[in-house]
Symmetry: C2
Subunit: 425 residues, 2 copies
């Protein structure tokens, strides 16, 4: 009965997915008929249509040999939404545009495109997830660059020893490697914030909601001399209730997780202290001499649509639709997991979301799955045996019985994953 239920919902999902794909293909074709051929060269048009069609036609059959890679948080789930929006986020960049290194010489962050700065502020205002007043916006080539920029900015250039960098386990698996790979004399990874007891200044990363487990977080160490970096990559309404606007000294956001455009390497920091902002800007200047201007122009256009669809009543709200998709995925995953004693998932409490003006549940971009079987000590290896690639708990500073699984991959991969999970029961 349990097995029947799981397969039934997966089949339903596949039919829904097929219908959505077909409607999108129709829409793409209708749009191109209505608007005629583009006047300028379209860099990827036909390939995208092929991809769409191939996903549609193959999504009804399982490829038993296919390796499903849910190790990375590659947010390809969002492609469908942006297809549905058609030309609204298309950018046209003529060859002579944005050639100079400089975006805005009057801004402290001279490589920040003014229109992107404006759209970042508008989006935060519309969503209510961050205070932007009295903040400097520092743009980065993804939030990875901003994480290292923050470490550089918060560590004194003439310190007698490297600044300690901590985060509470399970922590984002990149923090340790980002703090150590250059063997910097400025900063160094000092491990789990819970066991950190060294005197003196330190930097604590607070990821909230947390990657990998999705829980809300606040500072663990709470000592004088602590400098906090709030990594708010997942503080968006599709993942978590927006309880209040974040009001920290240094907050990080990233384009990839907010809207799914991971290939456009854009992140931003909201920084209260001017000197810290200056040091972060200096780091990015030395590291990459600014941030690609064409990517920023594209980013501005995408954020504008996110804001506009949130406030109008067209029924195309990015956050409404994404929230719905994430809710459906979490419902299906919990149904698959709850039918078995082999796995477990975190349990979340609902919270009032000021964006949706109602109570919502956390539904993180990653599932933090635990293998409950006594025989399975290494959940990542166990799932790899099922051709499901995940990221094991040890990389996040905890037991290998846990794995992190991307919840934002394409429908076809998510469906296959659920089907294989159901078969393990």
């Amino acid at each position: 009965m349990a097995n029947f239920f799981s397969i039934f919902t997966i089949t339903n999902l596949l039919i829904l997915s097929l219908a959505l794909n077909l409607s999108l293909v129709m829409r793409v074709y209708l749009n191109s008929e209505k608007h005629g051929q583009p006047k300028v060269v379209d860099v990827e048009g036909p390939a995208t249509q092929r991809t769409l069609l191939s996903v549609s036609s193959s999504s009804g059959e399982e490829d038993i040999d296919k390796v499903i890679n849910l190790n990375h948080g590659d947010p390809t789930m969002y492609e469908k939404y942006w297809m549905m929006m058609g030309d609204k986020t298309t950018v046209v960049i003529p060859g002579w545009h944005s050639m100079s290194y400089f975006s805005d010489v009057k801004n402290l962050c001279w490589f920040l495109e003014p229109q992107l700065a404006m759209q970042i502020i508008k989006l935060h205002k519309a969503v209510g997830n961050a205070v932007t007043e009295g903040r400097h916006i520092v743009i980065g080539t993804g939030s990875s660059q901003l994480i290292i920029a923050a470490l550089f900015a918060l560590s004194p250039a003439d310190g007698s020893e490297p600044m300690s960098v901590v985060s509470t386990a399970p922590f984002y698996s990149s923090y340790p490697v980002m703090s150590t790979y250059l063997k910097s004399g400025l900063f160094n990874w000092a491990g789990d914030a819970r066991s950190f007891n060294k005197e003196g200044p330190y930097i604590e990363f607070i990821t909230s909601p947390n990657n990998p487990d999705g829980f809300f977080r606040s500072s663990t160490v709470n000592r004088t001399g602590g400098m906090l970096v709030h990594d708010l990559a997942y503080y968006w309404p599709q993942y978590t209730p927006i309880s209040l606007p974040a009001d920290h000294d240094l907050s990080l956001f990233t384009f990839s997780k907010a809207n799914g455009h991971a290939g456009t390497r854009i992140g931003w920091a909201l920084v209260k202290d001017e000197e810290v902002a200056k040091r972060m800007i200096k780091f990015i200047e030395l590291n990459t001499i600014g941030v690609s201007r064409d990517s920023q122009l594209r980013a501005a256009k995408i954020l504008e649509v996110m804001t506009n669809t949130s406030v109008d009543s067209s029924g195309e709200s990015f956050f409404d639709i994404s929230h719905h998709l994430m809710a459906e995925r979490w419902r299906l995953l919990r149904a698959a997991v709850n039918n078995s004693r082999r796995f477990s998932l975190p349990e979340f409490a609902p919270g009032f979301c000021h964006f949706f003006q109602k109570e919502t549940m956390p539904q993180p971009a990653f599932a933090w799955l635990k293998c409950e079987d006594d025989e399975v000590e290494d959940c990542e290896s166990f799932l790899r045996g099922q051709k499901i690639l995940t990221r094991g708990g040890s990389k996040f500073g905890v037991s290998a019985k846990y794995v992190r699984i991307s919840m934002v991959d394409k429908d076809i991969n998510f469906s296959l994953f659920l089907k294989r999970l159901s078969k393990l029961q």
Copy 2:
């Protein structure tokens, strides 16, 4: 007479510039009339036309209070060429394209767009400035990121002390700061290659033609254990005779200096050794999780036009036109400098250029000017007094009597610079 000559040529240049601007504005308007209004949103259209018009209307008058910033090598000179090319390099990127982190999972460099890789190879073949066979292409967020990636890749992770990094003075002013700003335990700046006498392995940067002075360069240290990084940012026909295809272990190129698109942060490395390529790729993965895909798509389109116009006979060859512009600027600069004993410039020998199939002169992207006056010890300060911002010799490891001056700025700035230089005689 000398003064009359200088002013006469500057006036001529300004008239020519004005005529070119007007013809470009006409072309932009005619193109937009012919093609009608674009179907999709143009991110900067009206602003660009305003800029064009304002440059045209003000280029005939000198603003005596204007600070001319020739400190950076901001290659805005090239804007006109790309305007002239109209829609040929326009990219249209729909909102759902290039969303994944991954460009090409089959490539060692998984974040390299296949079409950009193809265009890089085609351009090198057309120009004849680098061997690409047997090389891995590693793409970077500008060549700055690749410089640090090379340092990371060539330094052993478990070395007992940091690897020494050297270059022959005058060296690119960023090498020292890039090698030291993170206080890395992997590598450290060890100064002028000429005075380097430490035993053991080392990394030598060879910039050829050299930034700042434009001369050809080869290795200075020439010892066992040396690893050479050839920075070939300026090895393009508009700057120097292309004597033969570069055939090194590790060569760096950058989009900004090849074609003027500094705002599109793209550089590339040609790397012989697979392990070195892998380490560079790892660095970029940790630093920025790849390189913006939209910037790469734009870059591919621009390189394609550079290659195509080099081999067809349309009279629109990027390298022909750029070479002509650089030759004219150098002619005017030398005329201004030779009329005085206060300044001097490097003297170059001509060389056979296999690209142009004739003898050509080096005409670097920077002028390496020396203040010959006995009273002027600090040439940068002296010129700053004339509201001309340059970069002083001490930043390049030599005497402050030298300054580096950008030769690739906008016409208006270059003309004002020449006029002020002429007045100093």
